[in-house]
């Protein structure tokens, strides 16, 4: 077992543990904290795949900015613990069979494709920060700028909604 595989399993276990804990926790803050664990573990996985820029951005944007906002809102509202209810009928008759079916499909797919998967071409240059930014600002400059406008519009919308109450 190489160190890379060992680290992969640790990070993957951490991500799965965080995701399960996110659903099972009863307090919103604990759920948000579990989500941060998932984000950081995913960043670790990106790092393992050799795309360090995406890993850093994952932590800065998702782990930092967005989750801080979540925690901030929960702290401001100071929500209490959730009440635990019984399973809804939809979950019992629709959800659980569906989850089992999806798990079965994935397991079957993995079991059938063992061994003769083509190795991914190690394209190290694509993941380097410099080539990534060159691509964003040359080939994909219009989608990139359009996304910025979309976010700007969303911010303006938030300001308008916040102002309306006064």
């Amino acid at each position: 077992m190489t160190p890379a595989i060992l680290i992969f399993f640790v990070l993957a276990a951490l991500a799965v543990f965080g995701a399960v804990s996110l659903i099972l926790q009863r307090h919103p803050i604990h759920s948000a904290l579990s989500l941060i664990v998932v984000m950081v573990a995913l960043a670790g996985l990106y790092l393992l795949l050799g795309s360090e820029f995406v890993a850093a951005v994952q932590i800065i944007v998702y782990g930092g900015a967005i989750m801080v906002l979540f925690i901030f809102v929960i702290m401001l509202l100071n929500d209490g613990e959730e009440e635990r209810t019984h399973f809804s009928k939809l979950a019992t008759f629709g959800g659980i069979p569906l989850a089992v079916a999806i798990a079965g499909f994935i397991a079957a797919a993995i079991a059938h494709s063992s061994g003769d998967l083509p190795a991914a071409t190690a394209n190290g240059s694509l993941t380097s920060t410099k080539t990534l930014s060159m691509l964003i600002f040359t080939d994909f400059v219009y989608p990139f700028e359009l996304t910025s406008f979309l976010i700007l519009v969303a911010i303006l919308g938030a300001i308008v909604l916040a102002q309306r109450e006064n």
Partner: protein, 402 residues
């Protein structure tokens, strides 16, 4: 044994380096509190700590012992996970941020493993630092929320709002340096500042004076220090987010604060003041004796001062400490090889020390901001100025390459 060492050198050497760095940083943290109390005392025409040990030099040790042996009560109805996790997150992130900082230029090989002065030499070290800064909000926010106390909650909320606001201008103020260097690696940013061999003339501080001003102001706000220490404003919030913490948990917040001060000072040194580069032109080789020129007179002065000290303990300890300094200075003159190795770290730590002194100096000088002033300063002044700096820098770079 030797085979084992060469095989696992990639694992053993970083662990040794981490142990050394953590030991050094914790010691420096302890003596930074001593320096801070002493300097502020002298600013305010007091003596500062002077009871425990000569000149109060053993005060940090006494404080440490006190922190360890104090009772550690947990208030009722706290959120246990958040309450216990918060100081650990804060301290862990503060210490981690030092891992990507390069302290000197040398690369050396031990047991067939090439390594650097610094723990990790990654090519996106600046982004890693910002990622750590982004996460460090959680420690304070969780401490404030988990304590189940009004003062703590208000302190935590204030602090997270402040850190989110100033993180933007902190990140944007660095973009100018990144544009000049064209690289995220702190090592390359430093080396790029010294390519001409002209000393301090090629440091980033001159083209990036606006960027540096924005960076330093937002960095002070990020580390929650005076004049931006609203999260722990004593007159309003008792002690802010760490009101309900005692004993070692309180000490962890304290150590984390001083460690992030050190990290920010290191970052300012690297980005704007040429890191480990000497401020003198490379041809002035006589400046290599500067460490000795500082160490020998300082050691002799400590000996002279110690011999006059009021009690017998100080009359023994201080002269021996002085003798160590003076001998170190003479040893550096005697051994040009060691003197050459010490140059980089010497300049690095000298610059970091100046920044730390400025931190303390400001705490002794400036009053605290009001909260609305803090917010409008961050959003309406600092952020636009750093954006203008980015635009100006890119315009100049574009104009030069044409």
């Amino acid at each position: 044994m030797n085979e084992f060492l060469t095989q696992y050198a990639f694992l053993i050497i970083p662990i040794i380096k981490i142990a050394i760095l953590v030991f050094l940083v914790l010691t420096v943290d302890a003596y930074l509190t001593w320096l801070e109390r002493k300097v502020i005392a002298h600013i305010q025409a007091r003596w500062g700590p002077h009871r425990v040990g000569p000149h109060g030099l053993l005060q940090p040790l006494a404080d440490g012992v006190k922190f360890i042996f104090k009772e550690d009560p947990m208030p009722a109805n706290v959120d246990k996970v958040a309450y216990i996790l918060a100081p650990f997150i804060t301290l862990m992130l503060a210490l981690t941020s030092l891992a990507v900082i390069p302290f000197g230029p040398q690369k050396f090989t031990i047991w067939g493993y090439e390594t650097t002065v610094g723990i990790a030499d990654v090519n996106i070290s600046l982004l890693v630092l910002f990622a750590i800064t982004a996460l460090s909000v959680y420690g304070i926010a969780l401490a404030g929320w988990g304590s189940n106390s009004k003062y703590s909650l208000l302190g935590g909320l204030r602090s997270s709002a402040q850190m989110i606001s100033y993180e933007l201008s902190l990140t944007l103020s660095v973009v100018g340096v990144l544009l000049i260097a064209g690289d995220f690696s702190l090592r390359n940013i430093v080396e790029q500042q010294g390519t001409s061999g002209q000393g301090l003339l090629t440091w980033n501080i001159f083209p990036q004076i606006i960027g540096f001003t924005c960076f330093f102001i937002s960095a002070i706000a990020e580390t929650n220090r005076v004049p931006f220490d609203l999260p722990e404003a004593e007159s309003e919030l008792v002690a802010g987010f760490h009101t309900e913490y005692a004993s070692m948990k309180f000490a962890m917040f304290f150590i984390a604060e001083y460690t992030s001060m050190i990290a920010v000072s290191c970052l300012a040194t690297i980005l704007f003041f040429g890191g480990w580069l000497s401020p003198f032109p490379a041809s002035w080789t006589f400046t290599h004796y500067l460490p000795s020129v500082i160490l020998i007179p300082f050691g002799l002065w400590v000996i002279y001062d110690g011999l006059r000290y009021e009690n017998i303990f100080g009359r023994i300890v201080l002269p021996s400490v002085g003798a160590v300094f003076a001998l170190l200075g003479f040893a550096l003159v005697a051994s040009p090889l060691v003197n050459g190795i010490i140059q980089g770290p010497f300049w690095f730590f000298a610059k970091v020390f100046i920044f730390l002194f400025v931190y303390i100096w400001m705490r002794g000088t400036l009053p605290r901001f009001r909260y609305d002033q803090l917010m409008s300063f961050g959003w309406k002044f600092l952020l636009p100025v750093s954006i203008v700096n980015v635009i100006l820098t890119s315009a100049v770079i574009l104009w030069r390459t044409r």
